[in-house]
Symmetry: C2
Subunit: 509 residues, 2 copies
């Protein structure tokens, strides 16, 4: 079968081997895993299958780490002490961390399949969603389809003209020119003469001023394209690129019911190995093994210690860099070399799905140049009555620091204010909201490890090497930062190397 | 609220008024509706709400017409007598007729909401699906994302060069040129100098030769773009346009469980008005009313007659043109002026979801220049074990006539043969199939009314006018041919006019 596949030209595209399985752990060998996020639980699951004695220490009262969903009744206390209680209705949720699974994240998909996590489409691109800039078109949003069709149409028209003027003669034969012009006409929805203009062809991309109807209803009327220069100046076309990028291309998924369905599935498999509410304060190693010192996360009780032959540490570097760890200087340097990006996500519950009912936006993402950046509508339960939650802000960069500095209530208030620039219904329909600023998440203190080309060069290999009896894993120890796939692949690679090393060490001994 | 919406620039785009409701039927007025497809059931539902006495005559043993799903255990006998028994496993189905609902088909969506039909995303565009031509690249399929990224990249590069060569000077200022060039770089994933070439940027659109990984896995490797001229010559880029067209743009939906969930929902509301198994043989009218002659579809019993004040006839013109109807010559001419298009759909059940398991194609459509045209993978139940059904052929034009002429078994065999050019697993994994050629569907004899510009001009208004006491409705009496939206809007418009006329007639009397 695989042979046949490759003969059609589909080479494997991934490092993930669905048959991945370690076996033959040294007799009695033990591993301490630090952190019960996806990297930690992957390590625990696979190492136990290989025969290791595994214990996991987890700061929180539940597993999953950044693979996390907030639902009605959940309480969340951030650094600084502010506590929010989520007041979403049954069935609504916010994924503060990862919220999408690309089709090529094979490791995530394979574990979802293995653990029975039901996936559904995530709608990334919605041609009827809005593209908004306060600096363009008087602040009036355009529809995605208008910007998409018009940018493509204008580009096709311009190139068609250049081709017909003979501007590219040196690189094209006459026949090539003709073929190119024909392809541009079709692709750009140009008229016979190569113009992108108001007519039925362009409206069949950008939508109509009046839609076609039935019986003796008024006839369809074409719509007027956006002026080329105004469109280019607006920058709105930049927002179209998202859906074409490898990481966000269709098909892209979400677990039915919230991203933490993945965390819960891993937890079902590994939960009995996890000690919850454990705050690691120190990691020591010598030639005999690893000693991890920890206390209860709530501060109760005395310091405790666990020992094991090996340690897989998946703590975010933002946390690990604050803890004494007996590793080489080069790994120490690497641990401290990676700043964590800042991001804020805000979930807003509204009294009704006005985006569907009034504006016919079903799922997908609207873009804005305001700090909220995106509004992402629910990809499921179309047409459902009752309250519904959308992602009301996905803030990055300096704006994220500003939002994180606000109280949660202020953040939510701001999200409603900015969102009202796209949806006039916001103030009237708003019900409640919850805001997670990643730099205030106690157990992450940032959203992901932000590598530069330079830091990769200097520190990445040092971070990932087995250091004595300790190996690190997590999205920060991957080339797929911020993604669950990075966490899992990093973990699989780390434990594979650790296992090989453990077996070799035993043989040598 | 509506005021606020329009102030943001979202005018109503549709003729469908969600508050549509007729009221005040003339006392005792009756309507005969012919055909219990969506147009007929819409008419029956709304006219009864308005106070009319309604009866519906339907040829089949169930309602829905072309809004139809085939499931395991269903038997279907086509013209010519061939009977197929569907042998799909539980949960699998083929929609021989409509299979998608665009976001702007407001009438369909509104009835789905009103009648509680649960919708889910239909995946139209899948960047990991295949684009195939026997004439290009030695018959080896490309991935959608490769063709998409490369076509766009090459176009951007060419236009960027033309811009920088000053070829378009007359239409662009220096500043405009710079802005355009910058936008093309971003949009086309060009390098700093404006070249579309093998590098990380282009691979972040078209995919990598080796994906990024975790830990110390091998580094990502960029992939090689398809040569520009070879790509243009291949024609594969034509297939990308589908997903940009108004009718197929995301978001686009399907009912959970099969398209006939819509038919069943309408049937729940109107079923008690329907007489099933009724073949209309004659439609007469005079100044007092309409008389419809019919017999049992199975040929049993004597001819029967029903009388009513008014008649809404939703029979396809392919059928109606074979029945004596007492309408004006101009409507007679219109009824005979519209040929019906030919199409064949083939559902194939496979032993497993190899397209997901081996090739990571989750939903969406692969395109081919072979007669099957499309392979559409299920948009739901990703990762599910067991047998699954895909749309293995959607044949049009001359090929559809050829397929319709074959036996159902031959059609299925052909679909498997052609599909194997895209998926080598086909022969080994094929389980069973079912094939519907629309020209052999007894009650439709074609798939939809195919208007030309000329026939619209001459006949459309004559077809849609109320003729005495008879009005026609259905997708054929709309500007949205072949779509359920056309059928419903046509019906709403027809009954609105009929109701006004009926009330006026009563007042005059």
């Amino acid at each position: 079968m695989y042979q046949a596949m490759t003969s059609l030209g589909f080479a494997a595209e991934t490092h993930h081997n669905e048959q991945f399985a370690l076996s033959g752990a040294p007799k009695g060998a033990s591993v301490l895993v630090l952190g019960a996020g996806l990297a930690g639980m992957t390590a625990a699951y696979e190492l136990r299958r290989a025969g290791y004695k595994v214990k996991v220490l987890e700061y929180n009262a539940k597993a999953g780490g950044r693979c996390w969903s907030l639902r009605g009744g959940d309480r969340y206390t951030e650094l600084g002490g502010a506590t929010q209680e989520c007041r979403f209705d049954e069935g609504n949720y916010l994924n503060p961390g990862p919220w999408r699974i690309p089709y090529h994240h094979h490791a995530v998909l394979a574990y979802c399949k293995r653990f029975g996590v039901k996936l559904e489409p995530f709608i990334q691109v919605n041609y009827n969603a809005l593209v908004h800039s306060t600096e363009a078109f008087g602040g009036k949003p355009k529809r995605h389809r208008e910007v998409q069709a018009d940018f493509q149409g204008h580009v096709a028209e311009l190139l068609g003209k250049a081709v017909n003027q003979g501007a590219l003669d040196q690189s094209l034969t006459v026949e090539d020119r003709e073929k190119l012009f024909e392809s541009l006409r079709a692709w750009g929805a140009l008229d016979h003469d190569g113009n992108y203009r108001k007519n039925m062809e362009s409206s069949l991309r950008r939508g109509f001023a009046v839609d076609a109807g039935g019986g003796l209803m008024p006839l369809a009327e074409p719509s007027e394209p956006i002026d080329r220069q105004a469109l280019i100046d607006s920058g709105l076309w930049k927002k179209l690129i998202d859906g074409q990028e490898y990481e966000y291309q269709s098909s892209i998924f979400q677990p039915v019911g919230g991203m933490d369905m993945i965390a819960k599935a891993f937890e079902r498999e590994t939960g009995e190995m996890i000690r919850y509410g454990s705050k690691v304060t120190r990691i020591d190693q010598n030639e005999q093994g690893v000693t991890v010192t920890y206390k209860n996360s709530d501060g109760s009780g005395e310091a405790m210690q666990d020992k094991a032959d090996w340690c897989v540490c998946t703590l975010p570097l933002s946390i690990l860099s604050q803890i004494p760890v007996s590793v080489s200087q080069s790994m120490q340097d690497a641990i401290r070399a990676v700043p964590y990006d800042s991001s804020v996500k805000i979930g807003l519950q509204f009294k009704r799905r006005f985006w569907e009912e009034d504006e016919h936006i079903y799922g997908g993402i609207s873009y804005t140049n305001t700090p909220i950046e995106k509004i992402s509508y629910p990809s499921t339960d179309y047409g459902k009555s009752g309250k519904a939650v959308l992602l009301g802000a996905y803030v990055w960069g300096p704006n994220a620091y500003e939002f994180t500095a606000m109280s949660p209530e202020q953040r939510v208030k701001k999200a409603v204010e900015y969102g009202a620039l796209l949806h006039a219904q916001y103030p009237e329909e708003f019900d409640n909201g919850i805001a997670v600023g990643w730099h205030r998440v106690p157990w992450a203190q940032g959203c992901y490890g932000m590598w530069s080309e330079d830091s990769r060069e200097k520190h990445y290999r040092n971070l990932c090497q087995i250091d004595g009896r300790i190996v690190l894993a997590g999205e920060h120890a991957s080339y797929i930062p911020a993604w669950m796939e990075g966490a899992i692949l990093s973990s699989l690679d780390a434990i594979k190397r650790l296992h090989t090393h453990a077996v070799a060490t035993q043989r040598a001994a």
